[in-house]
Symmetry: D3
Subunit: 322 residues, 6 copies
Amino acid sequence: MASKQLVSGLKPGEKVDSYFSVNYKKPVTDYKYGAMFEFRVADRSGQITVKYWGGSDKAAVERLHDSFNREEVVRVKGEVAEYRGLLEVSINDKNGGSVARLDEGSYDIRELIKTYENIGEMRSRLADIIGTVKDADMKRLLEAFFKDKGFMEAFATSPASIQLHSAAVGGLIHHTLNVAAMCERIAELHAELDRDLLMTGALLHDIGKVTSFKVTSNINQTKEGNLLGHIILGDQELMRRIATIQGFPDLLTSKIRHILLSHHGKKEWGSPVEPMFPEALAVHEADDIDAKLDNMITKREEAVTEDDWIWDARHSRLIYLK
Amino acid sequence: MASKQLVSGLKPGEKVDSYFSVNYKKPVTDYKYGAMFEFRVADRSGQITVKYWGGSDKAAVERLHDSFNREEVVRVKGEVAEYRGLLEVSINDKNGGSVARLDEGSYDIRELIKTYENIGEMRSRLADIIGTVKDADMKRLLEAFFKDKGFMEAFATSPASIQLHSAAVGGLIHHTLNVAAMCERIAELHAELDRDLLMTGALLHDIGKVTSFKVTSNINQTKEGNLLGHIILGDQELMRRIATIQGFPDLLTSKIRHILLSHHGKKEWGSPVEPMFPEALAVHEADDIDAKLDNMITKREEAVTEDDWIWDARHSRLIYLK
Amino acid sequence: MASKQLVSGLKPGEKVDSYFSVNYKKPVTDYKYGAMFEFRVADRSGQITVKYWGGSDKAAVERLHDSFNREEVVRVKGEVAEYRGLLEVSINDKNGGSVARLDEGSYDIRELIKTYENIGEMRSRLADIIGTVKDADMKRLLEAFFKDKGFMEAFATSPASIQLHSAAVGGLIHHTLNVAAMCERIAELHAELDRDLLMTGALLHDIGKVTSFKVTSNINQTKEGNLLGHIILGDQELMRRIATIQGFPDLLTSKIRHILLSHHGKKEWGSPVEPMFPEALAVHEADDIDAKLDNMITKREEAVTEDDWIWDARHSRLIYLK
Amino acid sequence: MASKQLVSGLKPGEKVDSYFSVNYKKPVTDYKYGAMFEFRVADRSGQITVKYWGGSDKAAVERLHDSFNREEVVRVKGEVAEYRGLLEVSINDKNGGSVARLDEGSYDIRELIKTYENIGEMRSRLADIIGTVKDADMKRLLEAFFKDKGFMEAFATSPASIQLHSAAVGGLIHHTLNVAAMCERIAELHAELDRDLLMTGALLHDIGKVTSFKVTSNINQTKEGNLLGHIILGDQELMRRIATIQGFPDLLTSKIRHILLSHHGKKEWGSPVEPMFPEALAVHEADDIDAKLDNMITKREEAVTEDDWIWDARHSRLIYLK
Amino acid sequence: MASKQLVSGLKPGEKVDSYFSVNYKKPVTDYKYGAMFEFRVADRSGQITVKYWGGSDKAAVERLHDSFNREEVVRVKGEVAEYRGLLEVSINDKNGGSVARLDEGSYDIRELIKTYENIGEMRSRLADIIGTVKDADMKRLLEAFFKDKGFMEAFATSPASIQLHSAAVGGLIHHTLNVAAMCERIAELHAELDRDLLMTGALLHDIGKVTSFKVTSNINQTKEGNLLGHIILGDQELMRRIATIQGFPDLLTSKIRHILLSHHGKKEWGSPVEPMFPEALAVHEADDIDAKLDNMITKREEAVTEDDWIWDARHSRLIYLK
Amino acid sequence: MASKQLVSGLKPGEKVDSYFSVNYKKPVTDYKYGAMFEFRVADRSGQITVKYWGGSDKAAVERLHDSFNREEVVRVKGEVAEYRGLLEVSINDKNGGSVARLDEGSYDIRELIKTYENIGEMRSRLADIIGTVKDADMKRLLEAFFKDKGFMEAFATSPASIQLHSAAVGGLIHHTLNVAAMCERIAELHAELDRDLLMTGALLHDIGKVTSFKVTSNINQTKEGNLLGHIILGDQELMRRIATIQGFPDLLTSKIRHILLSHHGKKEWGSPVEPMFPEALAVHEADDIDAKLDNMITKREEAVTEDDWIWDARHSRLIYLK
């Protein structure tokens, strides 16, 4: 197993011997010559189905099937086939194929999940922004998060979503800095706003994503992420950190919590309260604009068509590519 | 000042000498013979406007104006007048009127805010329901709330809303018991449900209202109630109590938090997450049905008309009264 | 043809010889070796496609094709095959397969449609509830329905929907009793309500389903069910029965009709009028809660996945399974 | 009491002595010099408030108050006054005023409610349209309605709404003929449609309005009109008439009922079923277009402003008047 | 290549040699014996997939692939096959198949796109309607469009949509005449309307479709059609023609533009302004009713099922076929 | 008439002698002592009602009433009175009052309409931004607008709305620069965007407001503004200017028109097309965020209450003021 073979580069007939993360696995089932099962693997370039065609020793196939799981990394040896217009990897005796679970450390995670390359640079830009906050309480709060090495490490390597651009290691800090940059401009244009409150809200609005996503060999929502949501997880973490700062003002606590809780802008978009003062509204708007633009730009970049248009089904709109 | 004169019983021309809570106060303004101001007072039976007509010593009127505030209780001496079809209380030199702030203790709060009479009985019914919970962890959690005397006292005297039936001392426990009674029936009909989880969710779903309402001389939303909402305040209190129980299971924590967070049923109704398992759905539905029925029954009871119908503007519907 | 082979138990390669109801039949078409057609069959456990591969005598294939229809029961002899990941039954000369229409009586309908086992018990519970109604007119009305043997038989064997739990013989009485049980609890909690009116409405709200569904070898909507809807069919039957009761009060007629007509709660959900008094609102709410809970519980029970979550596409929500 | 004085012509200071219908009456209340009550009267030109200022014999005022009711006709003698920018009629001893109930027959109803002048002409146009229906069953059905003298009289004098143009005696036949005229054009343009079914549906779609409105001295919704709605009342009447026609086809019954039931077009607009075949869709569309155009044309005609625009609050739109 | 073989008439196993328009073409890809590509062709009767199975000379396959494009017409020689239940045309060496681009003129466009047969008759009806317009300015405007031979030719051969009935050469004039016929009837029923303005609006409302659709070998939306929409293109053309008429009144310009701009009726349906006077409302309603009826009638006619019902997914409704 | 008396500074009993713009005028009506009329006036600080109480010579009052109109400026002499809690100006013989129309030039328009003070500075910032556009075509287009002195003057003095902050002379250039500033930041964050296209769109998006508003003595919507909307007026002006630039690329024309047409973001918000490429989306988002923030900040600044909260009825939300 030499250098990583990327899913996006596989061709029909090609031999495969590389590692991938497992996204999904179906139960063992019978076929003409024995037992088989299929699973779906991914790396940073895309996804592909793998079919293991075993022999008549069904118990052996079951054992193999149970030897690895979703969210683990496997080494797959097989051959690329085409089936109903789609590529798949076929493993069987004849092609000497195999599949085996790999331990952490025996593969390069950056081949499996997209990673922002300038994380170091982004961390230092984040520190610069914190440096511009003048209010002592808010500065202490920001430092309680971002000078905590454990938190900072988790924050800097967290994705910001499960799909698209920000679905990458570093996606959360990338998105947070974009929101902060928009808010800096808003503060320049609207002198009436409390710049410190605005920047503090911008930097903390998505901290709940650190715990609502789990990055193993791919990106998943945690059980708490589903049952409670990243807004509630963020509020919980915010309260926990504030409790460690002596004399943190009550009203300021409520305001920062409000910004975090209301940053989806509308109840129907998942915020239990809606923005009630301009700094909260600004953080919501900056968050929204970054997500929407990122979404459309990514769709345009990833479009694979000779046509001038693609249909963006999720938003029910045509996107023009030229 | 003998027995309480209720707002609902005042007649044009009648002398007034009684105490009321102050809901709203306007600034001092000039009139033909000097300075005046108006304010709005209430008791458990209704609201009425009071006008203080002072003389030419504007500073004296300002001092009187500043001597009491919203949410305090005042003794009002004056005379009932009719102005543009509505009753109001008029205070002036000629009728020997006056207005003065009262200290707590010098009035009977039960004359100012509606109060459920059977609170004692409701407390014991609540205890009975807790007794039916079999799971040790959930029982410990319920006791952490309802065997804490301070919490229980606050819970038993909290209202459940600012308007209608449940806008009364005891409204919260009354509503909570109704929801629990509906959930008991649901548990009987659907044996698949986890009855303990269902009852725990029913009893705790609205605990955030204890801190989101402030009952002084009337019922108001607190600043935190507005900025954070009773759902978030409830979740905060739930986490705080769970933290005191050693070994409380993580999954159970998430489930109970989920019931509380999702009990409004839809994001657009203020829940950051929507019910994801049947016990959460059942608590939401029971909460919803109690509120809707209470609302329509109250409208029907309070209707003052000889007609067979009233128009319920808030829900855009006719209600039939016969 | 010994005991019934259930669809859910069929395995690839297995021989089939059993009876099924026909849900859908496609026209005859050509293939390499002659003419073929496919149809879809079902029993209480699920559905499966059947393909009949005939020879070059197309007229013979057409005759076989025309010898049975949708909503009839057929005996199928063939072999289970797998085609593109799905099982199907293949009938051809080589496997000695055949298909033939069965007359009523030569199969057990309970193998084709799910059936509640405790219908007798439910009928007696229904009689008990009628016994608690005190108003003479309403009691006479309820008896005009439920003491009419023909109606009672039809009511007790009617399904309450085409899908899910209540899509079973006995589903309507099961659902009606659940609604009545919720309304009994509501009557206990709200003494202001007219209990007799509430229970009468609860028991009669869905009587239109008796004629809007047709149970032959499966459950279908009748032509009238589609063109008029079960609410209108129910109202029609209600008027018909009331007309047989001498001196039935006009106002009571209008109120019971209103409960039936408004029980979907909102115009957009198919009620031509919306609940205008609390008893109508209560019947709607009880109906709604039973349907929603039944729906989620059934989804959770029928989920076939090793995952902790399933996606409920119809309601756009995740359901948690643990 | 000579010729009718119309509300729209009353001027401040003018003496009034004429008859009006009573729309609304408030309870007796006290004022400085005794007891008074107010009520609201109307005629075909508009509405005005009347205030009766009695003396200190409150029992006498109560007796007068109770001597007439809503929906009756009274003779009012008094004087027009202006109060807060609006005209009102004042009755008191000084101006020799009085109010007294009139018996039916002692006033001209056409002065109280707007009436279409060409009802005779419209009746003969309706007969012409029936003459174009060729299907024997549908012709019999139409004649069962429109050759029944009692029904025809009620139909020809019924209003079609409580407000605007069609809120007039003859409004229903006027609207029905407009819908039929649109449907005739649709039948010309779309030869695929069943013209007889279309015209039958057009003529019968609003028959429920005959019983859902009550025309006494003004136009009101009946109790059944509110609780059941004119669609259900129409369906009930349709079934009743069809039952009298021997051998009326079942499928045709369902189709005509479907047209009537679905003529509001959407469930949220009050139809329990939505149009499922083109004739039903056409009747709905023709009904809708007549109502919308009538509404905007009436708003434009009744606008009293020197401005080029009025704001139509109900539809949230500007209407251009030039 | 004799007479046209229509897609709808192709049978499995049949030889194909006919011309079709190309709707879609996929890139060249590898298969077991060489390189292949597929494309999709259409004629007035339907669509079918074509697969070209080339040999091992991939460059030759690429050259063939690049020799024709979307929206061109090709001659296809091959054989009809069935693949996964659908028919397709297979081209390969063994069946002597080929594909080649045809020049304009070497095929009959009327075989590729549906065409109304009575276009001549429709043109003369259009002229008749213009003859009924009395206002000199509006008549000049209509003639500026419809007496311009180039415009009239384009208008008379334009489709009115990409799908359904009006997706045909002549669809635009057909639809325009239907809208005008409805407006004539509206003018008869509502004498208050300005008939000339109404008819002018009816005839011009959809002129933007002349440039927003492109008819080559099939019907497509142009780039401007997508980016600007047919309403804006119509407004642009209207302004351009009005600019050529000396002394055309400003207010009339604004009114006709308003009718055109508002003819979708609601902002959410794409009109930047909503109808503000009755003539604009009438044109919108007539447009809407023609589209909706045409849609349902077409669905009913094109339904291929033995069932009594089809499901119209786009409008989420059942359509009854009997 | 010395220095301007501002509406916001008027006190009960004060004499008034100053000029105001007329917003609204009611017809002459009778009162006890003769004829009167009322009108509503405004200046940059607010609005107030004026009542003219004339004598018995009604013709004279009518002449005075007809001597001035809406949107003109009048000199008002009278006295401030209080009526039902609101201030008004009373003009009558006793207080020597009068009202007379003023000619343009005899008053200072800046006292009547709010005016941004830094318009000169904003013009030079606009020029700077144009200087950063590199594409020659787009630069020529921008100069065709902003180097046209007539247009530039109109643009720089146009308001951006009828209410709130931007309802001021200079409001349009102020808003345009804010949108441009947000777009500059977006271009920095997203290098994939065409910065020139983005800035051109930002600067031109609202040019239709120059003709859709009319600033006389106050701000009104023009007839074209209502009937066509500022988006269509902007598109018309854009096409007109582009037509003067030789060789302006077609595709670029469509793209810039698309940005302008789609800048409201959604059809339901008045854009006939929705953003189809990222630059269009960015202009919409920047426009939206500036409007929303400006709105909330203005509401907060203008709130006149001692309370911590105000209710923003238009957006159905509480705004927190502390």
